[in-house]
């Protein structure tokens, strides 16, 4: 059972897409598991013949459980863990604060469910196995957990799909952990988008709707490219140490209808063209809203970018999604007076906010990063 | 000291019959025990009959009795129906305690029989309370409290004698000294084997009496009971006796010799009394056989009564764990 998020402890196997004897190739989707974030496809990173299925459909197992056996497995590509990493500089600052307890301790073995919760679950037809985070003693699932699960409107839907109440819980857990553990610092930069706006208009003018790009794509690309200059904002802070990543996989925040938020990865965003990025964004939004994301897309982001869009607020100050160390927020594009060459002009402006983990970087790095974003957005044709 | 006992012919035959009744009753119990109609412990009074018969002869129906787990003799001498007692032995609903008490726990409220008690010494404090209640309620009753010499070693004996004297309670303490507390010989258990002397340590008057002589016991008991009643003071009677049989049923009697038992058997209370009656021409052969036949019939009737009795329904098992009212 792959870990699909920092706060995931277990998942329920809902569908096997292969059977014993089938040949599987690295990258194949072989199964679907239900998590608090919805049904997620499980990819394999090995090639071989699936010899045995160890976890039957319907069973809930903790993260780390072997789901199936693949014989003659040969790794087609380096495992994610084997990806080259930049050796982090030694961290010298002593840490007096003891590591905070994880939001939820790994749960092994049998689920702890209180008797009252179990009975209510039967009455409400709630599958207890889908409740990942118990709020009771020793992480037990108690009455309130079942009742909130039972109250979720999507319960009636098929097993595959997003469970918004569970997602709410997952967001709550992740965000609470972030605010408890991560010392955030915030930097803001207002960027003149005249050049970018003009360039987009020109780019889109003769394109069919499907090929047109949105300002968000420019933001995404600029944010990704700027990270190349400040890789200490890109990576994971785990086990009391920051591990930077040389790959820039941007988690693109997508809000879901009915509430809920998910940030699947656009891999190597810095290397993709604007058109590719636009396509990737559309694909992700569509699949996220269907509840049909791949496991690797949820685990791989090295940074998150959030863009509030036309209907959002002027600026957005994000909360870092652990174990990432930064989140870049783009506000709504607004027309405001702007001083140009000593004169006041009306200009389209966007407020870019960086929230970063002070354990990994200081404000100086953050400032350089925002300056880079602003600079890149002035030359949209180079993006 | 025997002046108060009316040794008329009928009374003498009555004493003999009372002792024979106890002896026959217990002989039947042994038979039924071996046939597994009677279970559990069975402590026989064989050899000690003169004590209960003699003492209880001195009591009135208003007087109270506290006994021990070896209390078949006291219950029969008191006049409790042998059928009820046999039924109790056999665990029947028509037993005196509905079959709940068995051999060691005969109770009979109507005879002021406050129970056999299987805790050595456990009955002594009860005697204090019964006597106190009688005294406080203005009754002139005497409480006869039977216990073996082994109970003298319990703290409850000493607490009770002290309090009985202190509060001047009308209790006749009857120490049935059969020389063995189970297998422990009296000489091996007591620093001082003079029990009357021990009682005198609490300034309680007392005397020793030959517990194998029913007339002597009755005579001593009558004097003692009169004294207790008139003075409202406790009195101590040590009855020297002997148990012919095992402590209970399963007892190899390694602690005493067969010769010793045989010697005491020669002094057995029934044998001795009957021999004395015959020697003094106070009983005719046909009178003896009439008594024996009558007792046999009584015992046969008792067994028939017991055998005919039903068993208490298990559904009633919780009854009287707590009482709903005080029986009147």
């Amino acid at each position: 059972m792959p870990a699909l998020g920092a706060d995931m402890e277990a998942g329920t196997l809902v569908e096997w897409l292969v059977k014993p004897g089938d040949r599987v190739n690295s990258g194949d989707v072989i199964a679907v598991v239900e998590t608090q974030k919805g049904a997620i496809e499980v990819e394999v990173f090995q090639t071989g013949v699936l010899s045995d299925i160890l976890v039957p459909v319907g069973e809930r197992v903790p993260v780390g459980t072997v789901l199936a056996q693949i014989d003659g497995a040969e790794r087609a590509t380096p495992a994610p863990a084997a990806e080259p990493v930049i050796t982090p500089p030694p961290i010298v600052a002593p840490r007096k604060t003891p590591p905070l307890r994880a939001v939820v301790a790994p749960r092994v073995g049998r689920l702890k469910v209180t008797p009252a919760a179990r009975r209510r679950a039967a009455a409400l037809n709630v599958d207890i196995a889908t409740i990942v985070t118990g709020s009771g003693v020793e992480g037990s699932i108690r009455l309130a957990d079942v009742e909130s699960a039972g109250a979720a409107p999507v319960r009636a839907a098929a097993k595959r799909g997003l469970d918004l109440s569970q997602m709410r819980k997952a967001i709550a857990a992740a965000m609470s952990r972030s605010k408890r553990e991560i010392p955030h610092y915030y930097l803001t930069e207002t960027v003149d988008l005249s050049a970018a706006s003009t360039w987009i208009e020109r780019f889109n003018v003769d394109k069919p709707p499907v090929e047109r790009i949105l300002p968000a794509v420019l933001f995404l690309k600029a944010a990704a490219l700027a990270l190349r200059e400040q890789l200490r904002l890109n990576g994971a802070y785990e086990n009391d140490a920051f591990v930077p990543s040389s790959n820039i996989h941007v988690g693109w925040a997508i809000s879901l209808r009915g509430g809920g938020l998910i940030a699947p990865a656009i891999r190597d965003a810095d290397k993709k063209s604007l058109a590719e990025l636009m396509g990737a964004m559309r694909d992700l939004v569509e699949r996220a809203r269907r509840g049909n994301l791949r496991s690797s897309e949820l685990t791989s982001p090295t940074v998150t970018v959030t863009n509030v869009g036309d209907r959002g607020a002027e600026s957005v100050t994000g909360i870092i999604y652990p174990p990432q160390v930064s989140i870049v927020g783009f506000g709504r594009v607004v027309a405001r007076p702007w001083v140009v060459d000593g004169r006041i002009e009306s200009r389209p402006l966007v407020t870019v906010t960086l929230a970063a983990d002070h354990r990994a970087t200081d404000g100086h790095i953050g400032g350089l990063y925002l300056a880079a974003v602003a600079r890149l957005l002035q030359e949209p044709e180079k993006l | 000291m025997t002046s108060k006992v009316h040794l008329d012919h009928a009374h003498l035959l009555h004493l003999l019959k009372a002792m024979i009744r106890i002896r026959r009753f217990e002989a039947k119990c042994v038979e039924l025990y071996q046939a597994q109609e009677i279970l559990g412990f069975l402590h026989l009074y064989d050899g000690e009959e003169a004590v209960s018969v003699g003492v209880i002869e001195a009591l009135t129906p208003q007087d109270a009795i506290i006994a021990t787990y070896r209390e078949h003799g006291q219950a029969l001498a008191r006049g409790v129906d042998p059928g009820c007692l046999m039924a109790e032995m056999m665990g029947k609903l028509n037993g005196c305690c509905r079959g709940r008490g068995g051999s060691m726990h005969f109770f009979d409220r109507s005879h002021r029989f406050y129970g056999g008690n299987a805790i050595v010494g456990g009955g002594l404090p009860l005697a204090l309370g019964v006597a106190l209640a009688d005294k406080m309620q203005g009754r002139s009753s005497v409480t006869a409290c039977f216990f073996g010499e082994g109970a003298v070693d319990e703290g409850e004996f000493h607490e009770t004698l002290n309090l009985a004297k202190l509060w001047r309670l009308p209790i006749l303490f009857v120490c049935e000294n059969n020389r063995y507390s189970m297998g422990m010989a009296v000489e091996r258990a007591e620093a001082d084997i003079d029990f009357v002397h021990k009682a005198s340590g609490y300034r309680i008057a007392g005397e020793k009496v030959d517990g194998m002589d029913v007339v002597a016991v009755e005579s001593a008991a009558k004097n003692a009971v009169d004294r207790v009643r008139s003075d409202s003071e406790p009195y101590f009677l040590e009855c020297q006796t002997y148990r012919f049989r095992a402590h209970s049923m399963f007892d190899a009697q390694l602690y005493r010799s067969k010769d010793e038992v045989e010697e005491w058997r020669k002094k057995g209370p029934i044998l001795r009394f009957r021999t004395w009656l015959e020697a003094n021409r106070l009983i005719k052969a046909e009178e003896l056989s009439t008594i024996e036949e009558a007792v046999e019939k009584e015992i046969a009737a008792a067994v028939a009564f017991a055998a005919a009795g039903g068993l208490e329904p298990v559904s009633e098992i919780d009854r009287f764990v707590t009482m709903e009212a005080i029986p009147s």
């Binding site: 209180t114 008797p115 009252a116 919760a117 179990r118 009975r119 709020s135 009771g136 003693v137 020793e138 992480g139 037990s140 108690r142 009455l143 | 109270a64 037993g95 005196c96 305690c97 509905r98 079959g99 709940r100 008490g101 109770f107 009979d108 409220r109 406050y114 129970g115 008690n117 299987a118 805790i119 456990g122 002594l124 404090p125 009860l126 204090l128 309370g129 019964v130 006597a131 106190l132 209640a133 009688d134 406080m136 309620q137 703290g155 409850e156 607490e159 009770t160 002290n162 309090l163 202190l166 509060w167 009854r319 009287f320 764990v321 707590t322 009482m323 709903e324 009212a325 005080i326 029986p327």
Partner: protein, 335 residues
């Protein structure tokens, strides 16, 4: 516990005085009632409960006894069998062990064993509990032991009102009743309304309603549980406080109703944990309200050691408000 002074006819008295008034009322009401115990007469009672009664009722009915617990408790049993209504005071529960033979082998056994021929309408009062810095032998809480015994009624008056009126109910019971008076309560003062003239001796009492967690307790721990409930309330946790009042027969219904409402329960028992009345209560909850539970059961009991003399050690042994609060909070808001 202390009712607000809304009743103009309420009088403020101590628990000790309430016990005494109860005894006096009983002696006046029934000539069969008499008292026995160590130093209850001239001395006035070890805890001064019987002070003055000798003068009013005389030596016949206020009987000082020698230090012979087995004899005078057994005398109580015998007197009850023979028509009296004795009230026996055992100075403290530890001394009651010397009379255990009479209580267990006679008082509770004879009614059943005699096939219902004899009732034992005997009341035994004794002081119980720790907190007075009198070391192990005088700081026992053995009421849970006694609650093990069929045939007994075990009362644990925790309030002035119960101290005043439980005796009346006990004397009306045709069975042996033991009243455990916690030593720390004798000086407690409370208003006693003139409207109340009796209390029932069968039911538990809800001293404070609440919906989040049940604090089930009795005797000397009641005030600690109520203080704990105050502290929890400041935290937004509504604790329901149940005073059992009767440890045998237990008011199981009240326990189950409360736990079925709050779904969480802390049992506070000054007895030792192993084989305690708290264990019995917990087991009944599990047997009969298992599916109502939304958290594990918790207990706050005395530490399983002989209670030491030194104040800090004794305090560490006994249930305390803070430990009750912590146990309840953990059930409601796990960290």
């Amino acid at each position: 516990m202390s009712a607000p002074q809304t009743n103009p006819t309420a009088t403020r008295i101590t628990y000790r005085e309430a016990c005494k008034q109860a005894l006096r009322e009983a002696l006046l009401a029934d000539s069969r009632v008499f008292l026995m115990g160590e130093d209850i007469g001239r001395y006035g009672g070890c805890y001064a409960v019987t002070k003055g009664l000798l003068k009013e009722f005389g030596e016949e009915r206020i009987r000082d006894t020698p230090l012979s617990e087995s004899a005078f408790v057994g005398a109580g049993v015998g007197a009850a069998m023979a028509g009296m209504r004795p009230i026996v005071e055992i100075m403290t529960v530890n001394f009651s062990l010397l009379a255990l033979d009479q209580i267990l082998n006679n008082a509770v056994t004879i009614p059943h064993m005699s096939g219902g021929q004899f009732a034992i309408p005997l009341v035994i009062r004794m002081a119980t509990g720790g907190g007075r810095r009198v070391a192990a032998q005088h700081s026992r809480s053995l009421e849970g032991w006694y609650a093990h015994i069929p045939g007994l009624r075990i009362l644990t008056p925790a309030t002035v009102e119960d101290a005043r009126f439980m005796l009346k109910g006990a004397l009306a019971d045709p069975n042996p009743v033991i009243i455990f008076e916690h030593v720390m309560l004798y000086n407690m003062e409370s208003d006693l309304s003139s409207d109340v003239t009796e209390v029932d001796i069968a039911r538990a009492m809800t001293h404070r309603p609440g919906r989040d967690v049940s604090l089930i307790t009795y005797g000397g721990s009641l005030s600690k549980a109520l203080q704990a409930a105050d502290a929890l309330a400041a935290d937004g946790i509504e604790a329901e406080v149940i005073d059992l009042r009767v440890l045998r027969p237990l008011d199981t219904k009240a326990i189950l109703e409360s736990v079925s409402k709050t779904r969480r329960c802390v049992i506070i028992d000054e007895g030792w944990r192993s084989g305690s009345i708290s264990a019995e209560i917990g087991m009944r909850i599990v047997e009969e309200a298992f599916f109502e539970l939304d958290a594990p059961l918790r207990r706050v009991c005395s530490r399983e050691v002989p209670i030491p003399y030194a104040a800090h050690l004794e305090d560490a042994c006994l249930p305390q408000t803070a430990t009750i609060v912590a146990a309840a909070r953990e059930l409601v808001r796990p960290t």
